[in-house]
């Protein structure tokens, strides 16, 4: 039993409980949360280096041996995701200290944030299908409340759509889990890998694969199941949008990668081609949606959809190189997209609006903020030497190697529009003469610096990821190789059978 597998869940849980004890003392909750997230990040890095050195780690909860008990397993993909969760948690918490209004903080913002991260980490680490469902629900309930917290009109309208679609997705997930159990007699993912191939009705297995694809597809916002995302993600405060965009849809993508590399690999011609087609449509529809938007957060929300397409492209091509590219892309896009959302929050604090038509003159008002927008925006568009360039380069190369020329062409075509919409924000919000003058910076110097600090870290990371690609890319490659050879995962979990 490796304690590092349990700590990513325990730390946010304990922090949340401590926050509840200090309900009335918001500033103490802030400090607790920042400390908790920092510990989570450190644990993530420790887990990553442990898995990197000693191979896949497992923990059997309650000492019930797999496949009978609940198994936790961390391979490279899981540990990379836990690390990035810690990073995102820390950055969001740091931003929230200044960026979140006190009313929301007083009504349990910090405990909810911690619970959300507990659910996310649990989903990344579990090795059991039903347990995954439970972690999804933990995460969803926290996200429901975070989305509606504050009770503004737009938030409630967005929350209704978000809650409904996610509950439908959960119902499909639950049904698929039940049928999967009745067909195979197990819910342990490693055990399923062994058993699914022997099922006498391959058609039923494909139906199950499609049910899981729809269930996770709704959560990951793939075409044609994405429409709840641009309707709801821009409504809560920016810190909440940031953590949602960074982690929640990515949990859906993670689940898809896990299921379609470990369990449903019996008919890749059908399932993975379908994923590839969906990814192409997701990219195109997402980016066209973004191009037509005039509200900064809505524009960025549509971009989330578009980027999900890239992540699925690697899964659809289904080679070690393409999966590695997808994982690298995931790290890149979480960082770059979160930085952009945080910038939109600061922009709103300066100008009082997200409307690109009304915004303007921000470059004159704050050159620092402009650079902090420009770097992640160009990274998202894929300009060298930033992280996005290498992520797209790797994906395109993997696509060419696998001779999937159409999807490569689509992905390059979509990049042009990504660049266009980023330049649109740049010229509308930063360069153009303002219709309303950006308000004087109406907060203290220390607050201003504290708001920009997480932005600077994230923007810096996209630059670092771009210049020093190799170490991170090697980790992604290692993760992809583990995914392509599930035998290793299976023997580690089931104990050398």
């Amino acid at each position: 039993m490796n304690i590092l597998l349990i700590l990513p869940i325990l730390v946010p849980f304990i922090t949340a409980i401590l926050c509840l004890f200090f309900w009335g003392r918001v500033h103490f909750q802030e400090r607790l949360t920042v400390a908790g997230m920092l510990i989570l990040l450190i644990i993530g890095i420790a887990l990553l280096s442990d898995v990197h050195e000693n191979g896949i780690q497992t923990a059997q909860l309650g000492s019930w041996e797999a496949p009978f008990g609940i198994t936790f397993a961390a391979d490279m993909l899981s540990s990379i995701m836990v690390t990035i969760t810690g990073l995102m948690g820390l950055m969001t918490a740091l931003y929230s200290v200044v960026g979140m209004d006190e009313t929301r903080e007083r009504f349990g913002y910090y405990p909810l944030l911690n619970i959300l991260l507990m659910g996310v980490c649990g989903a990344f680490l579990t090795g059991d299908v039903f347990n995954l469902y439970v972690w999804f629900e933990v995460m969803l309930i926290a996200s429901f409340v975070l989305l509606a917290l504050g009770g503004e009109r737009a938030q409630l309208e967005g929350a209704i759509k978000y809650v409904t679609l996610n509950l439908v997705s959960s119902a499909i997930f639950l049904m698929a889990t039940g049928i999967l159990y009745s067909v195979t007699g197990t819910l342990n993912m490693a055990d399923l890998h062994l058993v699914v191939g022997d099922v006498k009705q391959p058609g039923l297995v494909t139906v199950l694969a499609m049910m899981f694809l729809v269930a996770f597809g709704i959560k990951a916002a793939i075409f044609p199941l994405f429409f709840w995302l641009p309707a709801s993600y821009h409504t809560p405060p920016v810190a909440v949008t940031t953590i949602f965009s960074g982690l929640l849809t990515k949990v859906g993508v993670y689940a898809l990668i896990r299921f379609f590399t470990l369990i449903f690999v019996h008919d890749t011609n059908y399932t993975h081609t379908l994923i590839l087609i969906a990814s192409g449509f997701t990219m195109v529809v997402g980016v066209f949606g973004a191009v037509s938007q005039l509200e900064m957060r809505r524009l960025l929300s549509f971009h989330i959809v578009s980027q999900i397409g890239y992540l699925l492209m690697g899964l659809g091509i289904f080679t070690a190189a393409s999966l590695a590219a997808s994982i690298f892309f995931m790290v890149h896009v979480i960082i770059a997209k979160s930085a952009l959302f945080l910038v939109s929050g600061v922009v709103n604090r300066l100008s009082g609006t997200y409307d690109l038509k009304k915004l303007g003159g921000l470059y004159k008002a704050s050159p620092t903020l402009s650079i902090l927008f420009f770097v992640p925006a160009m990274a998202l568009a894929g300009i060298p030497p930033l992280s996005g360039f290498w992520a797209k380069f790797a994906l395109v190369r993997a696509g060419l190697e696998a001779e999937d020329y159409l999807i490569v062409a689509i992905s390059l075509f979509v990049s042009v529009f990504t660049l266009y919409s980023m330049i649109k924000i740049w010229s509308e919000a930063f360069l153009k003469k303002p219709k309303v003058t950006p308000g004087q910076i109406n907060f203290r110097e220390a607050d201003w610096l504290q708001m920009l600090f997480p932005l600077a870290v994230l923007a810096g990371l996209t630059l670092v990821l771009g210049i020093a690609v190799d170490p991170v890319y090697q980790l992604a490659q290692e993760a992809a190789e583990q995914l392509m050879n599930p035998t290793l995962y299976v023997t580690t979990v089931l104990g050398g059978e």
Partner: protein, 118 residues
Amino acid sequence: METVLAFVIGILFAVGIYLMMRRSLVKLIIGLGVLGHAANLLIFTVGRLTRGEPPLIGKHEEVLSGTFADPLPQALILTAIVIGFGVQVFAAVLIKSAYRIVGTDDLDEMKSTDETQP
């Protein structure tokens, strides 16, 4: 018994989806609830129905023998019911405050977050 339950599940799904397609918020939430029950009943049925065969190990035996009811699907349903209950309570509170703030329970009126212009 399976046949009866299959029809019951089918009807529950139809009712749930029909209610969700209505414009009224209250019907939406009831529909979601019915859908959840349909899913639970589905798991119960596909987990194989056995009557009067509790999964208990006899006094002089080491392992289970003969036919017995699989307790796992029922454990899954129990968990799902508890989760579903929590979520539905939240949804009920959500529609109440949405009704109070937006002033309508018609879903077609709730499209301000979908418009291109902010």
